[in-house]
Amino acid sequence: MATLKFTDGELAPCREDRATEITLAEWREGARPEAGRFALALPNDAALDEVAHALARFDAIILHFPTFKDGRALSQARLLRARYGFAGEIRARGEVLPDQAFFMARAGFDAFEIDCEAIESFRTALSAFSCVYQRSSDDRAPVYARRAATRAAAA
């Protein structure tokens, strides 16, 4: 198992020291990390409001895919980025397959816990699409914005 991470748009195995993890339950029981690198592991049914004020304490949020078919973490990641402005690492854990990687990256994930041998298929999957229809957590411009840009350039 390795953690792949986007750095400057490149997907590479993460070499930094792993952050110390705490769970939502530990947070509720009063764990309050102050120094070092910390990651908070959130279950799929966690209300993000509860931890919103404390997000700045964490270097990473770990979201869970109990099966690859369970897309709740995609909404959680999107909310963390768009609503709560979380700028740290959002890491995918669980059944994380290359065929979902593109969506995960677009929703806001920038780190993936996967088998080392899957790295190449992740790289391929992440570059499968050069156009997207929606604005999401990544910086890809939706096609309507690109259309407008093309029109402006032609005018």
């Binding site: 690859f68 369970d70 909404s75 999107r78 065929d99 969506f103 050069s130 229809y133 999401s136």
Partner: protein
Amino acid sequence: MYRYDEFDETIVRERIAEFRGQVARRLSGALTEDQFKPLRLMNGLYLQLHAYMLRVAIPYGTLSSRQMRRLAHIARKYDKGYGHMTTRQNIQFNWPALVDVPDILEELADVEMHAIQTSGNCIRNVTSDQYAGAAADEIEDPRPWCEIIRQWSTLHPEFSYLPRKFKIAVTASAHDRAAVRVHDIGLRLHRNAEGKTGFEVIVGGGLGRTPMIGRTIREFLPKEHLLSYLEAIMRVYNLHGRRDNIYKARIKILVHSEGAESFRRAVEDEWSGSDKAAVDPPREEIERIRRYFAPPPFEKLEPESAAFDKARAADAEFARWARVNAAPHKVPGYVIANISLKTPGAPPGDISAAQMEAVADLAERYSFDELRVTHEQNLCLPHVKKDDLYDVYRALKAAGLGAANIGLASDIVACPGLDYCDLANARSIPIAQRLAERFAFSGEEDDIGDLRIKISGCINACGHHHVGHIGVLGVDKKGEEFYQVTLGGSPGEDAALGEIVGRGLSADEVVDAVGRLVDFYKDHRREGERFLDAYRRIGLERFKEALYGDAEIH
């Protein structure tokens, strides 16, 4: 019609390249069937009783002649020479080989078509009124909004792994031909008191095992906020819809268990906290898409046509066909010509490659190159001059598509049932065939009038039996095929779910039993009263006696 630009085309082509890789991994054994399944489903590929089935999207039911000809070509080259129109404005091919599927998808992409998200737990092909852009009672053409939804929902990063499949329908007419109250989300364009048009947003309708009529959670949504509001609904559903039980995972269960009011509040909260400007398309993009749906260059015609009147007087069969199959058009001198795919005796919704080509020729010649697929498994030519209608009719008749039964007893909706589907309890197609023959060949159809019979081979209700005036549901009774009858359903603006009448009937009994229902109606109706209205007035009990016949009532 909408035309792909370089971006739309790129997305479809890249999707095919991705799927080609996945198929290769499956064929080499690198992917197990379990891992491959959700990937193929999101590309419209099912594994059925005898073979793979490919479901191709016909977005909001609109097709050009070029596209129809390509479907004919695919039917010939990769299938057994025909296709099957579904109740969701898709076409299904029942016999493609897995190894051919990426090539089929390339052939579709050449004519701006795809099979993306025609299956799987994602937002499916958006459906609409088949008369869009032509209907006399329409506020505005709903299809630009359908196209906006199509683009937004395609490969949506957040909403492609939902608890369950998700179906959206849009209408813009008072007379609801898109069944918006029985969809996960139904959108009804209407005008408010200030004369502005916006959407009524209806959520949580659906058929299947637990049929429900949708609830209105917003009376009036300004059009420009459609996508941000849809995102709010989808997010609430994605986060809170049940995932522990496939039968309770549709949004209707969430709306029902939370209560429509509390669901509405959750959506409104989510929406008010969202960055709408990031999601709603800019006005210029809405206008760009709308321009593709500008009305075709209609001629200025007299409302009446001498050629049409003469043909009607000379050919009684044509007169009947025109009365039954033609619908009023918003432009004088034009009509909407419905094409029945319910020729009595043939499987409902099936169309051969030769027929597809014949219809494509007619669309090109007589209907501004446009064709529509209806959610009742028929086709229509949306813009035909009355002057041309007789020519159209004769060509249809020559192609074996001359049935005059739109909206009548033999215009039966039926799912594929046990002939194709591995989930089925019973066959639907033969029952539909026998009923259609009974009503059509006895010549009583015209007298019976508006009657919607819908048949599903199992509780998944792909044949929409819950909203049939008469619904027939295949059930399994100790390994034998039985049929349960429901009465009083309607998919339209007066949406209602049918009531189960009583014990199931055998395949031998059910056709006569439905015949007795119709006879009872004919004996007891009032002047001009439809079957549905007579049923609503007279009630279940007396129809029940008719269904089972006196001898069996105790």
